[in-house]
């Protein structure tokens, strides 16, 4: 061998946890580039949703308080954004489950690295991927008649809220990925909770059209608040506002619910990671 004793880095300013997390995030992002098929289909699915809802259901769903011709499409796009970033959680679930099956999690756990770094890297990478997804979706939206009506600054805030929400559900998805026994289960378990989560919300239909008890569920669903906040910030129609507190303070409720969910699921996922083994 020509190298001498291993040369250890000085502790970076950002700290080891962040350093290790970025090393893992980089790896997960390289995967995205190496499997363009996966990226392609993860982009196609929300685009199909836009087209289906805009042209198939759109005419049948009236938006209270706004009967303009393109009202539903204006209303729909932030809903699709919210649904799409929520479904990104499934990628975290499946990805971690595959890492576990391949023995990579065992290997990471036997390295002198921070124990949260693998999950941090995973959630960051899965969130960054959503930047691309939101870009493609926004272009699709602009083509079908969606518009940003409230200035670029508010639009950026809307996108940041959506990405925060993506980051939050990525932690929940990570926790599920470490709990399930194999990738086959992960591909089901990672998706199943996302359907009620996104459909019991204001993403596609106004809450006021639902039965009373369901209105309560939908009003307190964080998907509703992130979607409503995005509608407000983009200047899109919101329907008749619900009087529930989260619907009156959509952006604030989104921030609070994301903080609470991360505070619950990040420690749960890290705890599970510390004790998990591939068999």
């Amino acid at each position: 061998m020509t190298t001498g004793a291993p040369e250890i880095m000085k502790r970076p300013i950002i700290g080891w946890g962040l350093h290790d997390g970025l090393v893992v995030a980089r790896r997960n992002l390289i995967q995205t580039i190496r499997v363009p098929e996966l990226l392609f289909f993860s982009l196609v699915q929300p685009v199909i949703f836009v087209l289906l809802f805009a042209y198939v259901f759109g005419g049948a769903i009236p938006i209270p308080g706004d009967d303009g011709a393109s009202a539903y499409r204006q209303y729909l796009m932030p809903g699709i954004f919210g649904q799409t970033v929520a479904f990104a959680a499934a990628a975290s679930t499946v990805g971690l489950s595959e890492d576990m099956k391949r023995g990579l999690i065992d290997r990471f756990r036997a390295l002198p690295m921070s124990s949260g770094a693998v999950l941090f890297g995973r959630t960051v990478a899965d969130t960054l991927r959503q930047v691309l997804v939101l870009t493609v979706l926004s272009i699709t939206g602009l083509i079908v008649g969606w518009r940003i009506n409230n200035g670029i600054f508010n639009a950026i805030l809307a996108y940041l809220l959506l990405l925060l929400f993506a980051y939050t559900v990525a932690w929940i998805g990570s926790w599920i990925g470490l709990k399930v026994p194999n990738p086959e289960t992960a591909s089901t378990a990672g998706l199943i909770w996302l359907f009620p989560l996104t459909f019991l919300s204001n993403a596609f239909v106004p809450i006021s059209s639902m039965p009373g008890w369901l209105q309560v569920v939908a009003a307190w669903n964080p998907v509703s608040s992130v979607v409503l906040a995005a509608r407000e910030l983009f200047g899109n129609p919101t329907g008749i506002p619900s009087t529930a507190w989260p619907m009156q303070h959509a952006a604030l409720y989104t921030l609070i619910s994301c903080a609470v969910l991360i505070a619950i699921f990040a420690p749960l996922a890290i705890k599970k990671y510390r004790s998990t083994t591939s068999r």
Binding site: T3, P6, D20, V24, R26, R102, D106, F108, A110, P112
Partner: protein, 317 residues
């Protein structure tokens, strides 16, 4: 001690590996080999007992242990989508090595494991043997003094296996301490300075390959006779050179002997004197398979035990 529900996976396992040597941990599936490695590599916490690796307690100083070890498991635990070079750089980064050092070390390892030509290809194009080599290279990026090899050649073709054996021999020659688990008896025979045989989480035998073989008796002479009717005469002849019981099974007879190859000449003379024609005659040294069979009542390949664990006490320096 490590339990999974009612199953005791490691039960009073006591291991000690001397610096710069290879300890072969041998046992059937479910014997507790992998559990023992997982405890020593800080992946599992034992329910009782202690383990020290490179002087660090696995329970209280797991990060110090992790800095001293390389772990190569039964599956090539490397990233499928990254290239060989990207994989090694990632692990170098996670060991907190300086980027400049990782760069040189990566090239050095790729060269050593004959992966330079494939360095910039995604692992999806690698063969099984190449993945295992890269896996081992990733374990070596920080030059750990201690290496855990958990069934490193399972599923490899004979040529890849021989190649990996040579790499392991070279590492040991450079001073690396190795804990090797395997169900391949010839692998332990080839590589290990000392062998510990475990079953159901307990040590059932330990020693060098030779002492283990001696433990179940020495050489045996085995003959096949041309005419089954002559079996009794052949047995009489063998009894005159044997040190123990002669066993007869149709046209095949075997008997324990001592004295090396000269006993073969004596046996042929005795058989000739009894007028027994022989179609085959060999002097056989016991294999570790024989050792295993005699110790456990089943062969190493029989998969009849429940999942792992146990208590372990180990030391690698």
């Amino acid at each position: 001690m490590k339990r999974y529900g009612d199953v005791v996976a490691l039960d009073g396992l006591d291991l000690r590996v001397s610096e710069g040597t290879v300890l072969g941990l041998l046992g059937p599936n479910g014997a507790g080999k992998t559990t023992a490695v997982r405890v020593l590599a800080t992946l599992l916490k034992p329910d009782a007992g202690t383990a020290t690796v490179a002087g660090h307690d696995v329970l209280t100083k797991p990060n110090a242990v992790r800095r001293s070890i390389g772990l190569t498991g039964q599956y090539a635990a490397v990233d499928e989508y990254l290239t060989g070079r990207e994989n090694l750089r990632m692990f170098g980064g996670l060991y907190h090595l300086k980027p400049a050092y990782v760069k040189v070390r990566t090239d050095e390892l790729l060269e050593r494991f004959d992966l330079t030509a494939a360095a910039n290809r995604s692992l999806r194009t690698y063969s099984g043997g190449m993945r295992r080599r890269l896996d081992l290279a990733a374990s070596l990026i920080a030059k750990p003094p201690i290496l855990f090899l958990d069934e490193p050649t399972t599923g490899l073709d004979p040529r890849s296996r021989l190649g990996l054996w040579q790499v392991i021999r070279d590492l040991v020659a450079e001073g690396t301490t190795v804990l090797l688990t395997t169900q391949y008896l010839d692998e332990a025979d080839q590589l290990a300075n000392e062998i510990v045989v475990i079953d159901k989480g307990r040590v059932i035998a330990k020693g060098t390959a030779d002492t283990l073989k001696d433990q179940i008796g020495g050489d045996r002479i085995e003959i096949t006779i041309a005419d089954v009717a002559k079996a009794n005469a052949a047995a009489t002849a063998l009894r005159s050179v044997s040190t123990g019981e002669v066993s007869i099974e149709d046209d095949r007879l075997s008997a324990p002997v001592s004295g090396g190859s000269t006993v073969l000449v004596d046996a042929i003379r005795a058989l000739d004197a009894q007028d027994v024609a022989v179609t085959d005659l060999v002097l056989r040294r016991p294999t570790l398979d024989d050792v295993f069979l005699s110790l456990t009542g089943h062969t190493a390949e029989e998969d009849n035990s429940p999942p792992p664990p146990s208590r372990r006490r180990g030391r690698g320096q």
